[in-house]
């Protein structure tokens, strides 16, 4: 390839890739940078003032309630992400391996519940799991005790979040498996590897990047969940996200809300970074880097 051709290729690449990248830069990264700035400001009667101070962070880090909310949201999100991982893997594997020509339909059927809004679906979950809900009504007509743990508790919030974000996990793993060469498993079998060992040594590491994306796709929204805990979490269910949302609704304390947003962003980014460290691009078949 000559130098001239290469230059042309580079220009073409930039011409095609830059518009979208600029769009994301302007409408995602600049807004995030701006709330970092605003988090050092002050709000008064729904107006932001450039009065630089660290007060918002001082309150956030010293008032134990906020740290308790943060910790609660964090642990819930970790448990939800791992639950989705455990159930999502075999499901995605089944679709990719045995779905045949209906694979796309099977995946779209996982996304279709999103056509119904989150509020309606979560309140329907409440209708099913709540004290007068369908589930406990059935138990009681058979003379059994209602299951109390699934009404207005952190477990209920967790079930709600698994319900909402499981499709993300399955889709991420499925997209990874789509580019996985299942014949590698045949080779392993011929060479005498047991199925379990072939999974540990071939399938899992080669699809770890897709799995890691799935973990992050579930963790990030679960950590920031604001609506689900309000509906399902009961009186002690308030989450960091729901308190954060309040700063932009009822109270209008935008600077403080920005500081909460920055902390949420920082914690999520740290988790993403830790997960990313475990990804070995050379060993994942996902990026198409062999090209």
């Amino acid at each position: 390839m000559t130098g001239k051709r290469r230059l042309k290729e580079h220009t073409r690449f930039l011409l095609m890739a830059l518009p979208g990248a600029l769009f994301i830069f302007v409408f995602l990264l600049l807004p995030i940078l701006s709330i970092i700035v605003f988090s050092f400001w002050r709000t008064e009667v729904y107006e932001l003032y450039a009065d630089w101070n660290l007060d918002n962070y001082r309150v956030l880090l010293t008032e134990p309630t906020y740290m308790i909310f943060l910790w609660r949201s964090f642990t819930t999100a970790v448990v939800v992400a791992f639950t989705c991982l455990v159930f999502g893997w075999p499901i995605a594997y089944f679709i990719a391996r045995y779905g045949g020509r209906y694979r796309l339909l099977m995946i779209l059927a996982l996304a279709a519940p999103f056509f119904t809004g989150i509020i309606l679906r979560v309140s329907a979950l409440q209708g099913i799991m709540g004290p007068v809900g369908a589930f406990n009504m059935v138990l009681m007509t058979f003379g059994m005790q209602p299951i109390e743990i699934i009404m207005f508790s952190r477990v209920a919030t967790g079930i709600g979040l698994v319900y909402l974000y499981m499709p993300f996990m399955v889709t991420a793993i499925y997209l990874s498996l789509l580019n996985f060469d299942f014949e590698l498993l045949e080779v392993a079998k011929i060479n005498g590897a047991r199925p379990w060992r072939a999974f540990i040594e071939i399938t899992w590491p080669l699809n770890w990047m897709g799995t890691a994306i799935g973990l992050i796709l579930v963790f990030v929204p679960s950590m920031a969940a604001s609506v689900t805990p309000i509906f399902l979490g009961g009186p002690n269910g308030a989450s960091f996200g729901s308190v954060l949302g309040k700063q932009f609704g009822e109270t209008g304390t935008w600077a403080f809300g920005s500081a909460m947003g920055v902390i949420l962003f920082a914690v999520s980014s740290l988790v993403i970074y830790l997960v990313w460290l475990s990804v070995d691009l050379q060993r994942s078949g996902f990026t198409g880097k062999e090209a």
Binding site: E9, R12, L14, M16, P19, G20, F23, I24, L30, P31, I32, S34, F38, P90, I91, F94, G100, R101, R103, L104, L105, A109, L110, A112, P113, T116, G117, L120, R121, S123, A124, G127, I128, V132, A134, Y163, M166, V170, L175, S176, N179, K189, R194, P195, L217, V220, M223, A224, G241, L244, G245, F248, S258, G261, L264, F265, S268, S269, T287, G288
Partner: protein, 271 residues
Amino acid sequence: MRRARTLDVLSKSGSGALLVLLYVFLYAPIAYIIYTSFSKNIAWPFPPQLSLRGYELLWVGRTYHEALYNSLTLGIGSAVVCTLFATIGSIAVLKYRSRWRRLIVITYLCPLFVANLLIGISSLLFNRQVLNLPGNIGSAIIANAVHGTAFAFLIMLAQMVRYDWRLDDAAMVFGARPLRCFWEITLPNTWPAMLGAFVISFILAFNNLEISFYNLGATQTLPSTAWGSLRHGLGPELPALAALVNGVVFLAFAVMYLLMRYRIVSFGHRE
């Protein structure tokens, strides 16, 4: 050998059963919504008392027509922007080499890693303080499109990694102009991925609450009417509308199934 075979059958049926359970779990609340849409009292739907009041109110109520229209505009607007950026961007990343490639991929994917709530509040403040844009359907489309572009890009990338770009080069060698090449070679091979990206980004924006809520201003969409109506109890129109939307979705799925069943359209699947 026989043991390995039993294990195979066991894992296949086990994971298949899990998939069925997941569908039941995902669609139980939707079945519940459809059920309540036909009942007299939404809050206490047991024992069943049938009524069509929700549908009657929906038929005459202007609010919900407007909300549905706005949701559709938001969904389609965002999906068009997302599919455009994602298609062009993913072709660039897959087809050309560049030392910027890794940076571009990370930029396209980074909205995946920012929670909806954060996108919502940060674009609210940025639009207000820096750009002086009011909250309206346009800013909501932009904010949703940021989120959707990342999903669309991921879907396109994963589906097209294996596409052989030499086909395009071959067409060019035989004298096809870039546009004709795209129309006759690239598009027929990539449209299922583009359709997938479009549908997913439409779904994400259509009923998005957390991004849209902070950027819509006074414009009402389906989720924001739902949020508003919660204060004085969920109205019977909303379950009725959700039931109708799901009816359309199920119909689309049935058509898609038949097209696949009789091999009229394969949606990108190769035997």
